[in-house]
């Protein structure tokens, strides 16, 4: 909503105040076939409905996770929010600015790490950061100092003078992510940000991202690494086929998938006939690593205990652990249900 209060923008610029960082209403995106494909054999293929009547909002100052299986519409949703793609129907606003009508106002307030690697291969790592900052109107000694600091915290200082074309994929990803810390835009979009990162760097980046949120920035991220979402996100939206499947914080999502348990059993020797033993149960996920059997199943408590007793009778049980569902189990259970329906 436009307001008449003075704002920090340029004189005469539109000023919008929004409680929400992101507001999405009945958003849809249909990718049509190429016009020339109409004249080709097999052209009866339908258009692709990547986002289908999606509505959600994101509060300021939180980390919002957009999850879903491949092709669920996560990246398309993010590309609409970052003004890269225009929606077919519905509206999307970032800090109150419509992504279609006020695209430049939106771009001024966001920083985006796209899913693909993106770097100026012919410029040095430091110039990559300085060039990016210039687009946000930042130049001069302060920005150079900030670039040095960002290079330092992301372990890029030794490579500051090298060109990304001479760096590995993981380092290029760091350069891409470093831009997030070069500006103070209120909203950050991260599309699979941890791809190609080693675990130590990933942990320190997650820590840095939490600090940014503590400073009032809002983060919208997509990820396939569910432990990452479990650890970072205050609020999660699971989508599939462009539609909402579930929404809420981790505890709320756990309530949606009641009776999903994760059982870990360590034996002196793994049983041979696991498949036969679990055949009558609704197994969400099963994994055998050495002597440990990890099963996530959607059953009543008594059925879970029954299975544990059956398995324990097979070999000497060294260790038993029963937990509630992890985000991964919830995700699988919910998206399976959605696919089945």
């Amino acid at each position: 909503m436009p307001c008449d209060r003075p704002c920090s923008g340029k004189p005469g610029s539109r000023c919008y105040v929004s409680e929400m960082a992101i507001q999405v209403e009945n958003l849809a995106k249909v990718f049509g076939r190429k016009r020339w494909a109409t004249f080709r054999p097999g052209s009866g293929r339908p258009d692709i409905r990547a986002v289908d009547d999606l509505s959600f909002s994101v509060r300021r100052g939180e980390i919002f996770g957009l999850l879903g299986p491949n092709g669920a519409g996560k990246t398309t949703t993010l590309r609409i929010l970052t003004t890269l793609v225009r929606p077919t129907a519905g509206t999307a606003r970032v800090l109150g600015y419509d992504v279609v009508r006020h695209a430049v106002d939106v771009r001024t307030r966001i920083v985006v790490v796209i899913q693909e690697q993106a770097a100026e291969l012919l410029l040095s790592v430091r110039d990559n950061l300085l060039t990016f900052a210039r687009f946000h109107g930042l130049a001069g000694p302060d920005v150079r100092r900030r670039a040095d600091h960002v290079l330092e915290i992301l372990g890029l200082t030794p490579d500051a003078g090298r060109k990304p074309q001479d760096l590995s994929g993981g380092f290029r990803r760091r350069v891409q992510l470093a831009k997030v810390f070069m500006v103070d835009t209120p909203v950050i979009f991260l599309d699979e940000f941890s791809t190609g990162m080693d675990p130590i760097l990933k942990r320190s980046v997650m820590e840095l991202l939490r600090k940014e949120v503590a400073n009032g920035r809002t983060i919208v991220l997509t990820t396939q690494v569910l432990t990452e979402a479990e650890e970072l996100c205050d609020d999660i939206l699971i989508i599939d086929h462009g539609k909402q499947v579930a929404r809420g914080d981790l505890n709320t999502l756990k309530l949606l998938t009641e009776q999903v348990y994760e059982v870990a059993l360590t034996f002196d020797r793994a049983p041979d006939n696991v498949d036969a033993l679990v055949a009558g149960y609704h197994v969400v996920r099963r994994q055998i690593a050495q002597n440990t059997l990890l099963i996530a199943l959607q059953e009543s408590e008594s059925r879970v205990l029954e299975l544990v007793s059956t398995l324990a009778a097979q070999r000497r049980l060294l260790r038993l652990e029963i937990n509630g569902a992890s985000l991964e189990d919830i995700f699988i259970a919910l998206t399976r249900k959605e696919t089945a329906s």
């Binding site: 990718f31 590309r79 970052t82 003004t83 890269l84 793609v85 225009r86 695209a103 430049v104 771009r107 001024t108 966001i110 920083v111 985006v112 796209i114 693909e116 690697q117 993106a118 770097a119 100026e120 291969l121 012919l122 410029l123 110039d127 060039t131 990016f132 210039r134 687009f135 946000h136 109107g137 060109k163 891409q176």
Partner: protein
């Protein structure tokens, strides 16, 4: 304003990383004039009008070829940026789509202007091509609008075509058609009628004729004015089509 200066600074930094880029941008047309122009002049004794050497005649062609070449090379950079992923990231930077194209074209106009100044100066010093100061404002306008027009025209194809090899095929065809069916290398009057009609319908001819009029005063003023207007329309149409292509990048 931030966006335009940022784009110009970016393009400048990228060009400064590579000596080949600098040579190509600044001295390539001069080399063409020195090798091809002098060769034709010496071996065929070609003269279009009494007292006009082939080098003087060909200067306008070389300057137009430079605009054309810069536009082609810069539009190819869309592919490079797309391969690096930076193209899509840049589309999320705080700027409008027209600003993005304008920033790129302003940088190219700067390069084309410096290139033209070097070429004209050295053509005068080394080949004795006469300089006509009264034509300089028109020459500057023709180089500026010419570079912009060809950049927008090429950008239109670079943004619509997704495959590098397909784009290279298109540019090769364009080079052949636009450069040879034009007044760039030879006067049009002796040509067969069909080829002459094709040449007069070619925007390169319009640009070459304006530049030739500005540099050595050759041509009819009314016809030159018509050709200038036609090229302006060509530039405007290419600009709007390129903006549309950029807005539809999904």
């Amino acid at each position: 304003m931030n966006a335009l200066t940022a784009i110009i600074a970016r393009e400048g930094k990228i060009r400064a990383t590579n000596l080949t880029f600098i040579f190509w941008d600044l001295f390539y047309p001069l080399g063409y004039l020195l090798v091809f122009g002098v060769g034709i002049n010496a071996s065929l004794g070609f003269a279009t009008d009494p007292g006009v050497s082939y080098s003087a005649f060909f200067l306008a062609g070389v300057l137009s070829m430079a605009s054309f070449g810069i536009a082609s090379n810069t539009s190819w950079s869309f592919f490079l940026d797309r391969d690096n992923g930076i193209f899509y990231e840049m589309l999320t930077y705080p700027m409008s789509r027209p600003q993005y194209l304008l920033g790129k074209v302003l940088f190219n106009i700067g390069v084309a202007t410096v290139q033209s100044a070097i070429t004209i100066t050295l053509a005068a010093l080394l080949l004795g091509v006469p300089l006509r100061a009264s034509g300089w404002p028109l020459l500057t306008a023709a180089v500026t609008i010419g570079t912009a027009g060809w950049f927008f025209f090429y950008a239109l194809f670079a943004l619509r075509i997704r495959r590098n090899d397909a784009f290279n095929t298109v540019t090769s065809i364009f080079y052949f058609i636009f450069l040879f069916a034009s007044s760039m290398f030879y006067p049009l009057d002796p040509l067969p009628p069909a080829l002459r009609v094709a040449a007069y319908a070619n925007p390169i001819t319009w640009q070459v004729d304006v530049i030739r009029y500005a540099t050595i005063g050759m041509g009819d003023a009314t016809q030159i004015a018509l050709e200038a207007v036609a090229f302006l329309l060509f530039t405007a149409a290419s600009f709007f089509a390129a903006i549309d292509a950029l807005r539809n990048q999904e």
